[in-house]
Symmetry: C2
Subunit: 334 residues, 2 copies
Amino acid sequence: MKIIVDAMGGDNAPFEIVKGAVMAAKELDTHIILTGRVEEILRCIEKLGLKDLPGGVEIANATEVIEMDEEPVMAYRKKKDSSMTVGLNMLRDGQGDAMVSAGSTGALLSGATLVVKRIPGVKRAALAPILPNAAGGVMLIDCGANVECTPQYLLQFAYMGACYTEFVRGVKSPRIGLLNNGTEKTKGTQLQIDTYELLEEARTAGKLNFIGNVEAKDVMHGVCDVVVCDGYSGNVLLKATEGAASFVMKEIKKTLTSSFKTKMAALLVRKEVYDLKERMSADKIGGTALLGISKPVIKAHGSSNAAAIKSAIRQAIDAANSNMAEILQKNIAE
Amino acid sequence: MKIIVDAMGGDNAPFEIVKGAVMAAKELDTHIILTGRVEEILRCIEKLGLKDLPGGVEIANATEVIEMDEEPVMAYRKKKDSSMTVGLNMLRDGQGDAMVSAGSTGALLSGATLVVKRIPGVKRAALAPILPNAAGGVMLIDCGANVECTPQYLLQFAYMGACYTEFVRGVKSPRIGLLNNGTEKTKGTQLQIDTYELLEEARTAGKLNFIGNVEAKDVMHGVCDVVVCDGYSGNVLLKATEGAASFVMKEIKKTLTSSFKTKMAALLVRKEVYDLKERMSADKIGGTALLGISKPVIKAHGSSNAAAIKSAIRQAIDAANSNMAEILQKNIAE
C-alpha cells in the first residue's frame, strides 16, 4: 500500500505533515510518498531528529505550492508543479493507492476531478466529512462541493455515503437520512420533496436503508449514519455544529476558571474535559473523503497536526483497501 | 398595555402558561388576557394557591385547542373557537397590544397572516428567533416560515431584523450578515449571490449596516447581530446549533459523573454549570418574533415553562412599545 501525502498543504505544513507521515509509515506499516520541496521536507526530517528519510518514506519533488487563498481552479491549472498536482498525477498514474492533502479544498476537488476523474456514471464528486456524535460519527454528504444540487445528485450522494460507511467504516446497512426542516415527507424545498421520493423508491427496492427526513438537531444525537444534503445546507450544518460545540467548550473553560472554587474543580476534571474536547474534534475522526473520485482522496483539515495527518492516512488506507470505487461503480451502473 | 396569552398552547399548557402569565402581570406591571377554557384556567389559578384571578389577569373563553400535530392551516381554519384563533381575533380588533403563544408554530403563522395580516408592503412574514451567543444574542431571520425564498424576501428580512434589533432590542446600527458557505461575495447559491448585491446596495445607500457574508461557525461567536437566511437553511442553522450545544452539555454531564473524582468536581461547579446551561437555553433570551405581521406576535418555545412565558411576555411588551410595525412600514415603503 502506497499513500501519497501532499507535504506542503495546510496551515502547519510542511513540518506537521512530514511528522504525521513519518508516524504513519512506522505505526501503520504503510509506504508514504511525500510530494513537495525536497530541501524543506528534508529539513523537517532533520528537525525530527532523524539522520535520513526513514524506511517506507520517499519524496517526490514539487517546486510549487497552492496557497489557501488562491482561486481553486486557476491555482490548480496554473501551478503544474505544485505538491498537490504532482501528487494527483501520481495517483492517476498508479504510483500510489490513495492521496491525502491538508491544502485548499477547492483546489483539491478541482484537481481530483480533472486529473484523477470521477467514477464513470457519477455526476458530481462530494465532500463527505464525518462529524463526531453519540453513535461514533455521522457522515455528511455533501458539505460544500456542490451548492446547487438536483434530486439525482442527492440520490447519488446517498449511494456514495452508504457505500463508504458500509465498506470503509464497517457499518452494516447504514441508516441514510435526508436533512430537512421537519420529519414529515412534505417538508423542505422542492429539492428535498423530490429527493425524498427517489430515496423512498431506493428503499422500497431494497437498495438503501433510507430512514426518512432528519432534523439538524438530531444529527449529533446519532439518529442516522449518513446525512444527505446539498452542499450549501450541509456546510451550514457542519459549521453550525462546529461553532456551537467550540462556543460551549469555551464557555465551559471560562466557567471552570471563574473563581477559586471552580479552579479547584477544574484541576480535578482537567484530563476528562481535555478528552471530551479531543473527542469533539472532527480531526480525530479523520479527514473529509472526496467521494465519487475514481481513487481515494482524503482532505485533511487545514489546521491538521501530525496526529490528524496520521489519522487521515489511516483513513486513506482503509478507503484503498475497500475497493470502494469498484463497488460504487457497479452500484451506480445499476 | 394588554398582552393576550394563549393559555392552551405548548407542551406544558395550561399550567405553566397561566403561572407565567400571573408572574408577568405582577412583576412586569402589565395586563394579561388569557385565552382558553375558563374552568381549566381557573383550576390552574387554584393550583397556584390563589383564591381568584389576580389583579391584571382576565380570561377570554375559547373552547377548542389546536394540537401540535395538526396540519397548521387546516387546524387554524377548522377550529374557529380555539384559544389561538380567539386570541388572534382579539389582537386584530385592538383588544390587546400583542400576543404570545407556545402553540403550533405553523398554525400561529398562518393565523397571524390571515387574521392580523402582514404590514402593507411586506411580502412574507418570517420567524426570527434569537440565539444566545457571545455577544448577548443574535437574531436568525427566517428560520422556517419560508423554505423557498427570493432575494427580495431576504432583503425585507434584513430590514425587519434590523428594525427589531434596533428598536426592540436597543442595538444601535445592528450588524447584518448574510448566511453563506464562505465569506467571499461569489459564494453560495444564486439566491445568496443575488441577495448579496441587494444588501450591498442597501449598505451603500446608508440604509443597512450590511457586513457581508457570515459563516455558520461564526454566528455563535458574535460576528453579527442579525443573520439573514432562507427558512430552510435558517432552520438547519438553528437546530444544528441547538443539537450541538445540547450534545456537548450532555457529554459534560456524563464527564462530571464518570468517577468519584469528577463527582467531587461536579459538586464544586454545579451552580456554574447550571447557569451556563440556562444561558445556553434559547428560552431565556425569549420567544421567536413573527416579523412582518402588523401587530406583535411572539411564539414562545413549545416546551416553555413559566419563566420562559414571562420572558416572552416581556418581549411582547417591548415589541408593542417600540411601534415597530409603523417604523417598518415606513422603511419598506421607501
